[in-house]
Amino acid sequence: MIELIDTDAAGIAAEFVASRLRAGSPAMSMVMTLVIVVDEDGAEDAMQVARRASHEHPARVLGVILGDARGNPQINAQVGTGAGWTGETALIRLEGEVVKHAESVVLPLLLPDSPVAIWWPADAPEDPAADPLGRLAQRRITDAAAVTRGKTRAIHLQCGSYSAGNTDLAWTRITPWRALLAAALDQQALKITGGSVTAERISPSAELLVAWLSDRLKVPFDRKGSNGPGITEVRLDSSAGPIVISRRDGRLATYSTPDHPDRPVALKRRQLPELLAEELRRLDEDDVYAATARTLMKLQRS
């Protein structure tokens, strides 16, 4: 890691090239730029998560810490390659007036041509696509479950301001549930007449799961409360009997379907690096999330 004090985008870009040459490997084969907007306290953890996700998606990772917007502008950066990264990283600290113009620092540092993803590990703008940094990216990743307060409101806000390219890790978290539920209906052609999602009281993921199920199955779903962790049970009712997937410990679930014995199935709550890696796998619009977000807004209004 090289520390650059009172620098600018050109200084950081020059250091990228210099550190690549120092490492003896001028070609890095990076496939995207990942911008992380984070505060000082969360920076280290977020960069750690990105480092692990970068194994699957070699990226230039730009951590942007937005400091106090008052006072003289100053840009400090730590720039590096290697050490567990499969790309380049810079952790850029902005202070003073430049905080309001962070995009002017990030824009020159985007890799040519390749896609840009942006991730807010905690609090995100209410309309990420309208955010000056968010506008630079085609993939905008928020995390309603990680905001400092108002998680349920956060997912409603994100769904309300949905625009192509937006996604939320609360949605990513339910992929294994959705996969298992879809597999259940692959195996048994049952007409679903209703059902419920049980989860801890505040769970943006559960809201999305209810919306997704209602949207796909065109029947109402109840949202029930439990002590968690996370989602604890999903029930699909049919005339042949219910399909129930229940998971009390956040790890191992029981899978029950009509006319079949109960079976254990591993359904572990995933960690951030896995979630982020899933998000970065596809960078085009997620149509199913778009439809789910629309449904969630409709359910909320009714």
């Binding site: 070609a27 970068s54 959705r178 996969a179 879809a182 209906l185 052609a189 199920l213 596809r282």
Partner: protein, 511 residues
């Protein structure tokens, strides 16, 4: 089972690409549980699939072997294999999901009682685990026993699925040792299983980098226009191993490098590199194009001048003193089995007429590497002095299959600081770790495809047979010509291989 043909699952949406395809209810019966293949590849792959959430709840694994084991002993064997060889982290809850479905049936392949018990075990699993009558029989055993096993499966009604269910059989190479034996082997399997239920595993085809050959060729504009005899001088396909036969003398002696590697891996690789564009990427379209290519492949007339073979002698490989092939345990001192094989092939079609394909493979070579090098013709005119381009050789595109997966483009560039001198430089693409550590092992992909009944990546019988037709004349020629030439371990093979290319005015790439 319900009529799945007109059932449209409302939770599925083709645009929902996050959702993985999970195999339907099913189980697998593994013959040969104590072998290397089972312990190092199949069992870990099953665990990794479960860990990635791709196996159906209730998936069951039945081991069959001549061992006096209970279910728990078998579970322990799988446990050890998984701990030692699985790609993904060991997680207790995944293990618990799997472990309830382990069963073991002791017995010989000619033991009627054992197969009766196997049938009862499978029926019990359908009952308590909900495997739905769907079972794959994985024959991780020498091909000599295939006949016995599938015969028993048929006799005990194990090969016949109930309506709506499936039974599949999975076999590994070698698919015979010549055309005749391949036909017989296929006939054995085909009397019991329909051709769509026979899955031949060539694990090379499960590799991400091999599938990427198709993506590179058919998803891009800039490679296809030069992918023909107008621009390509020749193609070299190499699979080199640094290890020796590593305790597999019993299998290897009498088989040799050409049967072990060229007949399957290298000819399959060649067909993917050289075939025409398939109409789509379904199994049938791929098979048609691969087979068409293999049918256009011809051997040169003079096999003595266009092939080479060798046998590794004692020497130093990468700083280790190693034995020669004839000194290895279990190898006949007079063995004429080749551990290095190189052949020249031509493709008689408009795209490739006049472009030789050189295929080579060997053990105890310089390093472990598999690659396809497409070597281009020199520019028709060079507006430089001869001296300026002395260091410029052929442009080349190298697809690195393993290790260090990626692609290299080799082309000429000006030497900095000189007036005008041009030399070769490499442009490297390495897809980070994504084709290696975090992506699935070939066996995971292939086993999942077996359970899903998705056949594009499995060679069909016609391809296997045609591959033997190509290779058989070479093998016959070698059989008449005495012993292979010795080459020192840790080098790039016998001098006859270099001479073979020198006759065409070419040289092997140092991979």
């Amino acid at each position: 089972m319900t009529a799945s043909t007109h059932w449209e699952n409302p939770l599925r949406d083709p645009r929902d690409r996050r959702l993985p395809r999970i195999a339907g209810p099913c189980g697998m019966v593994l013959f040969g549980v104590t072998g290397d293949l089972s312990r190092k590849k199949v069992m870990p792959a099953i665990y990794d699939l479960a860990n990635r959430g791709l196996l159906p709840p209730g998936f069951s694994l039945v081991g069959f072997a001549r061992r006096d084991w209970a279910n728990e002993d078998f579970a322990q064997v799988v446990h050890n294999a998984v701990k030692e060889h699985a790609r993904t982290e060991f997680r207790e809850e995944v293990w618990r999901q799997l472990a309830e479905g382990f069963r073991f049936v002791p017995g010989n392949f000619d033991d009627d009682q054992a197969f009766n018990q196997l049938r009862r075990t499978i029926e019990e699993l359908d009952d308590v685990r909900g495997t739905g009558g769907n079972h794959a029989f994985y024959l991780a055993i020498p091909p000599g026993f295939f006949g016995d096993v599938v015969g028993q499966l048929k006799e005990h009604g194990l090969a016949e699925p109930n309506p709506g269910a499936w039974r599949r059989v999975v076999v590994e190479k070698p698919f015979g040792h010549d055309e005749q034996s391949a036909r017989e082997l296929n006939a054995t399997l085909a009397t019991v299983f329909p051709s769509g239920s026979i899955f031949r595993i060539d694990h090379y085809l499960g590799k991400e980098t091999v599938q990427n050959v198709l993506a590179t060729r058919f998803a891009n504009t800039m490679f296809e226009p030069i992918w023909n005899a107008n621009y390509v001088d020749h193609v070299q396909i190499t699979m080199a191993e640094d290890i020796g036969i590593a305790g597999r003398a019993g299998y290897y002696d009498g088989i040799g490098a050409a049967r072990d590697v060229i007949q399957n891996h290298l000819l399959q690789l060649m067909s993917l590199v050289a075939m025409e564009e398939p109409t789509s990427f379904d199994a049938e379209s791929l098979r048609i194009e691969k087979l068409k290519l293999l049918q256009s492949v011809t051997l040169p007339r003079r096999l003595d001048l266009t092939t080479a073979r060798g046998q590794y002698a004692a020497g130093w490989q990468g700083g280790q003193k190693v034995l020669g092939f004839l000194q290895e345990d279990g190898v006949r001192k007079t063995s004429a089995t080749e551990t290095y094989a190189a052949i020249t092939l031509h493709v008689d079609n408009r795209r490739w007429a006049g472009v030789p394909f050189y295929l080579r493979t060997g053990k105890r070579l310089g390093r472990r590497v598999t690659e396809v090098a497409v070597v281009f013709k020199p520019a028709p005119h060079l507006p430089f002095t001869h001296a300026a381009t002395e260091e410029l050789t052929h442009n080349a595109l190298v697809i690195r299959i393993q290790p260090d997966e990626g692609m290299t483009l080799r082309f000429g560039s000006k030497v900095p600081g000189t007036q005008m001198e041009i030399r070769d430089v490499n442009m490297d693409f390495a897809y980070g770790g994504s084709f290696t550590e975090s992506s699935a092992e070939a066996y995971e992909r292939l086993i999942l495809d077996v359970l899903l009944g998705d056949p594009p990546l499995f060679p069909r019988h016609a391809e296997v047979e045609r591959s033997w037709q190509i290779l058989d004349p070479v093998l016959d020629h070698w059989a008449r010509k005495g012993k292979p030439e010795a080459y020192e371990s840790g080098t790039w093979g016998p001098s006859s291989a270099d001479a073979m290319l020198a006759r065409d005015g070419r040289t092997w790439r140092r991979p």
